[in-house]
Symmetry: D2
Subunit: 304 residues, 4 copies
């Protein structure tokens, strides 16, 4: 089946699908979003794109944005980054302190909260203006000068972020955080508050499907080897404790966020972004997971 | 770089590489193997094949064989299989009872010991002659009537298999084992004792690179959808607590065993088998991991 | 308040107390017991004794009997015993494999299942006829030739004892079990099936209140130093994951069993046995706990 | 043996005993103490007292002081306190976040760090001037107006207290901390910095041996029932992951601190304080443990 036919049929089947998921309510600002929003946008590396539903409305990227912070830190630090954070699936819920204690303050991977916080600490150490420099990086790879943080969401997370506070202090006790706790958290909460439409998200992920080159200008912004490695981490660690399920059912590298967004890529072919705010009990968009499973089934094409 | 050039250069670089890994010594029969053996065999779906080193000598597949038992059980049971075993990475060492207790006797995936034992139990329930029927299945997908268990190895494992005994009894206490403990273990230890040469192993994995069809006769022995799912499980769970590292460094679905063998596939392209008995501290062949990392680097081609 | 007044008032208050606990139903034979049985028997080292309720009916000691097996093993092995089992509270449910794995097959204490199984293994190694010799020992310290195992209960446990099977095999994988699994389990299930009336149980525990001497003949059957240490272990480990609660509310060394019995002692004063089959969610007799709490409150006397 | 003879012989045997323990070095200010200090002071409820060694030099109470904060909080809050902290041994190292996560932010007991922090939070909520009011309480039960915090030690702990910071924030994420993190920690670090001589410490613990009454004036400052319960918690939880060992070898309720002090009591008889800064691998004074074991052995008298 062709891309457009596949997306059209997915959208029609799912738009009235009864979604038993519930909103992320621990961040008050996110709980205000209309839970019935649903959009899917697919952008090919040949320039074509396909859109259905609410793809022009901004939503909060949350953990999806951790792919960008990882990419930036990795592009500057190189392999030294892996002294401070691993690349293994966590096998536990995304906030767990267990394994962090068992493994002496080295987070299992850069997508669980602790690992993303270490990446933020790394960026706080190497960037002059972490928030501004990071935003500039994202705008560049997305080819989109209008991307921004949402200060209300960042503030909302700050006020309920005791557990992330605990994670930073805990890792500091192992010597794996260099900057002041508040500075790391301020960067982290802003990172999570990054907003995009489905269209912008799909386009910003094209670089991961295209070996590190921008599609428009063919500029090599990230090295091809590192792009593959970031994709591999997305595949094994991108969906909290459901990474195996996503590989099994969808078969693409991707990353989800509690704002209900998921971005995924088929290397050499396309990037796709889907948004639906209701989450399953593992914290991933339930309709989004379903849509992407239908996509690779209908296209009869995954990386496996 | 072409396949032959890549393999040749890998073989020459690694044959004198100082390997600090050590043999699996908890199975006495395996400890007798010459630790310096090293072979690599790559078999393309177009019929070409390339061989360097000790590729005509049989070795013990051990956990690599769990890909075959999973494939057989899945082909008969279908999705019901996932009621009894998950598809998530374990995030712990391959013998761990922790998560099994935490998750009420349902193993995280079919490649950790507990999960492989559940798969054996499933096969004991549905096959008339589990060992013979299984052997026939492997011979068929491998296109090789000469494959066999190694009774000395099976017996050697039986005598030191207290922990696997414990796993079966433990899962029985949760109602997730149907057959007598001894029957399940006898099948399991025979499964692990399956022997192949690198050549036979690469050829038996071609079906996973070829969407479930045999390369010789183009017969659809396993469904294309299920092959993709088995590949996905290999990707996220195939290397004990180093699955993320293998995805990160190699970027192919694969499976390792403590006999020092690794089989991996690039869907649509090839299957490759490598054998070197010294293991790293995660239980994977250290030279084998290195060889496959060099392979995808030299070919500049992985699934990511 | 005097002993008799205290017991009388406790019995009257509690005999119609609505007990929300439930029976141990995982051992079919135990589930047949009348759940409303209730008896309490207090035996002083000066020879006096006091009895209320169902104190002449036999019940299954279950884990209470582990005090006897520990005492016998300790009296023969001495301090060497602590190389194979610890004396620390477990901080987990009584069946947990977690800490056993974390601590390399050395159970935390002799009263959790794993620790009691190690003690059984020790006795299997040093006794000619483990079951008969053990029974003789218990009869001697109890001054009661009529004590016996209950074969129907032992058999009932054997048939559902997969988890204990797993524990033995698991510890065997660490080298902490010497005898055949079936032999250790046979002894263990018989030990647990030991039956006594409240009167017999209180009298058999007098030796722990009397520094190791029998009350009738003043014979030093166990050394005074070791009696104190067994009492200390009862205090810190005698009530599964409720040992702290029992110390806090009752303030006496004691041991409970899932048959609904509890034995406790006030060193230098008395031994007391209570029986009521309904268990709280930690596996201890709920009315028994309550009765003993009222006892030390009314007597205004505990070891603290 | 009489008290004086016992102490004299213990002191002489141990003063040249080769102590392989090491100082607590994670608090810089504590690492400055002379590691060879050794003193023991025993104070009877009949007014007699016995002293050997360095009993007139102040040292840092550290966790020993948690007995006082618990006593004050319990005397004001009563049984409500147990909604926020348990009374069970932890079965893990004293800093562990594991069980805290497993049990939803309710610490296992008031002596592990997390539990002591909750008690500090309770006192911050109910006292007008937490530090001053607490100091007044300790001076009163100790009958000693000269007791004080050590600001240099408190400051030293504050600067390295990332893990305690993490614990407070983590419990705040479960709603089990009411006050600002910094306020709770400031109180906690001052509490731990409380200084006493062996003599002062033994005298301040007399009230726990005397049913809540002061020995000098016979004033009932704490209720007899609550004193027993605090004693019970000391018995089951007072020595980190060595509480069972202390009950087993010493047989008295007590509490240790990383400053090298231990206080213990024999209800109805005496309180004893010992100080020796070298710690064993569980964080308890190694010579102190040894001295108290010899004490109850020589006196042939413990609570068991």
């Amino acid at each position: 089946m062709q891309y457009n036919d596949a997306l059209k049929s997915i959208f029609n089947e799912l738009k009235d699908w009864e979604d038993l998921g519930s909103m992320a309510d621990y961040i008050p600002e996110l709980a205000k979003v209309n839970p019935n929003k649903f959009g899917i946008y697919l952008s090919c590396i040949n320039g074509e794109s396909f859109t259905y539903g609410d793809t022009q409305e901004k939503f909060s990227l949350q953990s999806v944005a951790k792919v960008f912070s990882l990419s930036l830190a990795y592009s500057i630090e190189g392999a030294r980054l892996w002294d401070r954070v691993g690349v293994e699936p966590s096998g536990n819920s995304f906030n767990s302190l267990w394994q962090l204690e068992y493994e002496n303050g080295i987070p299992r991977n850069p997508f669980i909260n602790s690992g993303a916080l270490v990446v933020c600490d790394v960026l706080c150490s190497i960037l002059d203006n972490p928030k501004a420099d990071f935003l500039q990086f994202v705008r560049k790879i997305a080819g989109n000068p209008n991307l921004n943080f949402n200060p209300a969401v960042a503030k909302s997370e700050q006020e309920t972020g005791h557990r992330n506070h605990a994670l930073v202090d805990f890792m500091k006790s192992y010597g794996n955080i260099e900057n002041p706790t508040e500075k790391v958290l301020d960067f982290y909460f802003n990172l999570c508050s990054l907003e995009m439409t489905c269209e912008a998200l799909a386009k910003s992920f094209l670089i991961f499907a295209n070996g590190g080159k921008t599609v428009e200008d063919n500029l090599q912004l990230l090295s091809s080897v590192r792009i593959k490695r970031v994709n591999a981490i997305m595949q094994t660690c991108g969906f909290y404790d459901e990474a195996g399920e996503f590989a099994f059912r969808v078969g693409l590298p991707g990353k989800s966020g509690v704002g209900g967004g998921i971005a995924a890529i088929h290397p050499g072919h396309y990037a796709v972004a889907v948004w639906s705010p209701r989450l399953n009990d593992k914290g991933n968009s339930s309709k989004g997971m379903k849509a992407l499973e239908m996509l690779t089934t209908k296209l009869e094409l995954s990386i496996f």
